[in-house]
């Protein structure tokens, strides 16, 4: 029996919908991820970036399931590994020469910088996978719809119809293929036919577009200033979490400006050990990564307590 690959992928995705970053207000969730991005860009130290990657990966796996996350990051890992390997071959800066390849030096500094870039890219990608599931396009649009309601609606509509039109195009081409089964047809005729089919599909799409416009008109779109339906509530816990993120980010920025967590890959490779300021910044960095789990633990505790009381 044939096994459908798409089915396995879908089965591997297990969303933990009751975790904090899924449940909180979308703006809070987005703010947390923005803070995460800020911190990984502020600190170039290998310990920070490896920790950042591990935390981002664990968090994504926690939210969407390890199998789904591993499947998603597999290709990126290969791409990033390739970048890490290519960097020392193309970049020859640095004092510690490991060996010569095609008479060009391969340096330890370039290799270390390649590894740093690899981890940075993978952390970013892990965060994007996580955002895509926890915040998602719908919530993102909701956040930005206040600032630009019309644009937000058009983006939402485009998203709805992009997959719809993709399916329509596949159906249309399938039907058109059944109409022409002349194998002896020349190349020029085939091209001409393809042109006619594309024009036919454009006409069909325009027809659908007119029907959509008619349905918008029937619901008086554009007649008056639009209001917005609020699907999400901003709770006290959201405010506490947002304030904590904000404070940790500010503290992290201040530490970074004083030089904590910095690392120079090309001037003789700085000492990789962490000093006191680095340790303080690192502690705050870890606390930031752990914040969503703290919220989950807190919510779970009060939930259980309420169950016990009842």
């Amino acid at each position: 029996m044939g096994i459908h690959k798409g089915a396995l992928k879908r089965h591997g995705k297990r969303l933990r919908l009751t975790t904090w970053l899924f449940l909180c207000h979308p703006a809070v969730s987005l703010a947390y991820f923005t803070g995460f991005f800020l911190l990984i860009f502020l600190y170039a130290h290998p310990v920070f970036i490896v920790t950042g990657f591990v935390c981002a990966g664990l968090q994504a796996a926690y939210h969407i399931g390890l199998r789904y996350f591993a499947g998603k990051i597999k290709l990126t890992f290969l791409f990033c590994l390739l970048l890490a390997l290519l960097n020392p071959l193309l970049n020859h800066r640095g004092a510690h020469i490991l060996f010569y390849l095609f008479q060009k030096p391969v340096t330890l500094e370039a290799a270390a910088y390649g590894a740093y870039m690899m981890f940075l890219l993978m952390t970013m990608f892990a965060l994007f996978i996580d955002i895509n599931q926890t915040v998602g396009t719908g919530k993102l649009l909701y956040i930005f719809s206040r600032a630009a309601p019309q644009t937000s609606f058009i983006v939402s509509m485009s998203m709805r119809y992009s997959s719809f039109l993709k399916r329509e195009a596949a159906d249309y081409l399938g039907v058109q293929r059944t109409r022409d089964v002349d194998a002896s047809e020349g190349k020029s005729n085939k091209l001409k036919r393809a042109g006619v089919v594309v024009a036919g599909f454009c006409a069909l799409t325009l027809e659908k577009g007119m029907q959509i416009a008619e349905s918008l008109r029937a619901r008086e779109y554009g007649k008056t200033k639009r209001t917005l339906y609020a699907s999400y509530l901003f709770t006290g816990l959201d405010a506490v979490f947002l304030a904590s993120c904000l404070m940790l980010c500010i503290a992290g920025t201040v530490f970074a400006l004083t030089g904590a967590g910095s690392f120079d890959y090309f001037r003789g490779l700085s000492d990789w050990r962490l000093d006191l300021t680095d340790m303080c910044a690192y502690s705050l960095f870890i606390v930031y990564m752990l914040l969503p789990y703290v919220m989950d633990a807190y919510r779970e505790t009060i939930r259980r307590r309420s169950l016990e009381l009842n």
Partner: protein, 538 residues
């Protein structure tokens, strides 16, 4: 109290300004508070145009004469069109629900309040955060209807809302419409070809032809008038139940529901007329089934196998579930097969597999090399040229056009029109004409009767039978299948669950069967179509 009134109203599309042809002519019509009006008529008779003229925002570009008076504001008139996909414009159901209210500038509290009670009334809370692309046809139309009611309209306009739904989903939508009409007092104007389920719920019926209202009045009396007509113009539109009741008791009032028909049959009057309705006269269900099976098997052995589907599995990329699983089906030369089953049961997928638009993931498909023609569900996706004439020329290749057929189908006057400008019924006829020009040996059709009036259906069945080709139709139109098919195949859970001749198929089914069969089941097993009534009541 009247909500809208037309007096001597005519409407002419902007593109017909030169020819001077009006789509709607001299209409005088009143829709009262809480009324349920169904408008029927042939394809292109002006039903949809009239409906669109009832709300300012949906009135097409053109010129109108006469008067149209409405007591309603724009938001008090809601419209639901035929295709739900073009009406669900947002990426989640809840956004679509709020869309109309957002456009009217409702406050958030107001929106939440209205949405909570309206969604509760429809019982579709579970769909709120779903992507419209993931909903079935019936669910989509239900969501569209719910979204239309968010502004608490007093008049609801529906343009063939059940034409794309399977019989069960269409019944459920009509039940909801009845609740809206009876419980909320919303007046409803609905255009529809398939009157079978509507007549029991409509207060008034209007029949249109050539832009004019032929007759309008209380549903029962209009049906009586139509069924008593000598010519086919009205009679063809009359559903099987009133038609049968008129045949059984010509002087009595026509029956609108199965219950009424059963009472009529059982009434003493009928019994006294000596009509043979005794249960014993009809063959026993089991015997019928065995006899038919043996007969069918013998016939099939003599017939040539055209297509053999063996243990087929198929799933679409975006779905984790198999649409077809363990599907076995043999198709013989000259058969007319109607594929049936609920929305999403795999009918369209099976047709696409046979015409090789998609490939099975597992299993084998053996097929003789033969000329094949396929008509898709969205018939407009069949066309690619800019005029009807070009479409026809492309399909005839070097051959001749059948002028008589062209005339009979009413296509000769449409040659210079764009195929996408045709009505659903006209587009269906054009696609059928193009298919027949190729003289295929195998014809695959997906919902061929969608949007087609009874005349179109009769023509379709006649031409397909006359072509002599093997025909496989996916259809929800049970009455059409009962009269047309030589074999009915029901798909369920991705495989064939029933495959037998129409008499056996509809005789055995309790829910998925013709309106007449449902009505007569407690009395007779073998009444499926009006023809069966005629045979039994001599």
């Amino acid at each position: 109290m009247s909500l809208i009134e037309f007096h001597d109203f005519s409407f002419q599309y902007a593109q017909n300004a030169q020819s001077g042809e009006s789509a709607v002519k001299n209409i005088s019509l009143t829709v009262n508070e809480g009324e349920f009006l169904v408008v029927c008529g042939r394809s292109g008779s002006g039903k949809s145009t009239l409906l669109r003229c009832m709300k300012e925002e949906t009135t097409p570009a053109g010129r109108s004469t006469g008067s149209f008076v409405t007591a309603l504001s724009s938001s008090e008139t809601a419209v639901v069109f035929q295709d739900p996909d073009t009406q669900l414009v947002c990426s989640t159901v809840i956004e679509d629900m709020a869309f109309y209210m957002e456009n009217l500038g409702y406050t958030r509290e107001n929106m939440r309040h209205t949405m909570a009670e309206t969604v509760g009334f429809f019982g579709i809370e579970s769909l709120l955060h779903r992507d419209p692309n993931d909903l079935s046809g019936g669910q989509k139309q239900m969501v569209v209807l719910c979204a239309a009611l968010m502004t608490n309209p007093r008049l609801l306009l529906l343009d063939e809302p059940v034409s794309q739904l399977d019989p069960i989903a269409s019944k459920s939508l009509l039940d909801t419409l009845v609740r809206i009409n009876r419980e909320l007092g919303v007046a409803i104007v609905m255009t529809e070809h398939r009157l079978d389920d509507c007549i029991a719920v409509a207060d008034k019926l209007a029949v249109m032809e050539d832009g004019k209202i032929l007759c309008m009045g209380e549903t029962g009396s209009i049906l009586k008038r139509m069924v008593s007509d000598n010519d086919d113009s009205g009679r063809l539109f009359v559903p099987e139940i009133p038609k049968a009741s008129h045949y059984i008791a010509p002087k009595a009032r026509v029956c609108l529901t199965g219950k009424e028909l059963r009472s009529l049959v059982l009434s003493n009057d009928i019994e006294n007329h000596g009509l043979c309705f005794e249960k014993e006269n009809s063959p026993k269900k089991e015997n019928l089934s065995k006899e038919n099976l043996q007969k069918e098997n013998l016939q099939k052995e003599e017939m040539k196998k055209l297509i053999k589907l063996k243990n087929i599995f198929f799933a679409y990329d975006e779905s984790p579930d198999f649409v077809l699983r363990n599907l076995f089906l043999n198709i013989y030369k000259g058969e007319r097969i109607c594929l049936m089953g609920g929305n999403g049961s795999g009918k369209t997928t099976l047709l696409k597999l046979i015409c090789k638009i998609i490939r099975p993931l597992s299993g084998t498909l053996h097929m003789e090399k033969l000329g094949l023609a396929y008509m898709p569900q969205d018939v407009k996706s069949y066309f690619r040229f800019e005029t009807v004439k070009e479409e026809i020329d492309h399909n005839r290749g070097g051959g001749e056009t059948d002028e008589k057929l062209l005339e009979e189908m009413g296509l000769s006057k449409l040659l210079q029109r764009h195929p996408l400008d045709l009505s659903g019924g006209e587009a269906g006829k054009l696609a059928l004409y193009c298919l027949l020009l190729k003289k295929p040996r195998l014809i695959l059709m997906d919902e061929p009767t969608k949007g087609m009036d009874p005349y179109g259906k009769r023509l379709l069945a006649g031409y397909l039978k006359a072509s002599g080709a093997t025909v496989i139709c996916a259809t929800h139109d049970l009455e059409f299948a009962a009269g047309f098919a030589t074999r009915c195949v029901m798909l369920f859970d991705g495989s064939v669950s029933i495959s037998s001749n129409p008499a056996e198929f509809f005789g055995r089914n309790h829910y998925y069967t013709t309106a007449l069969s449902r009505a007569m089941r407690p009395l007779f097993n073998n009444i499926i179509t009006f023809e069966d009534v005629k045979k039994l009541w001599i």
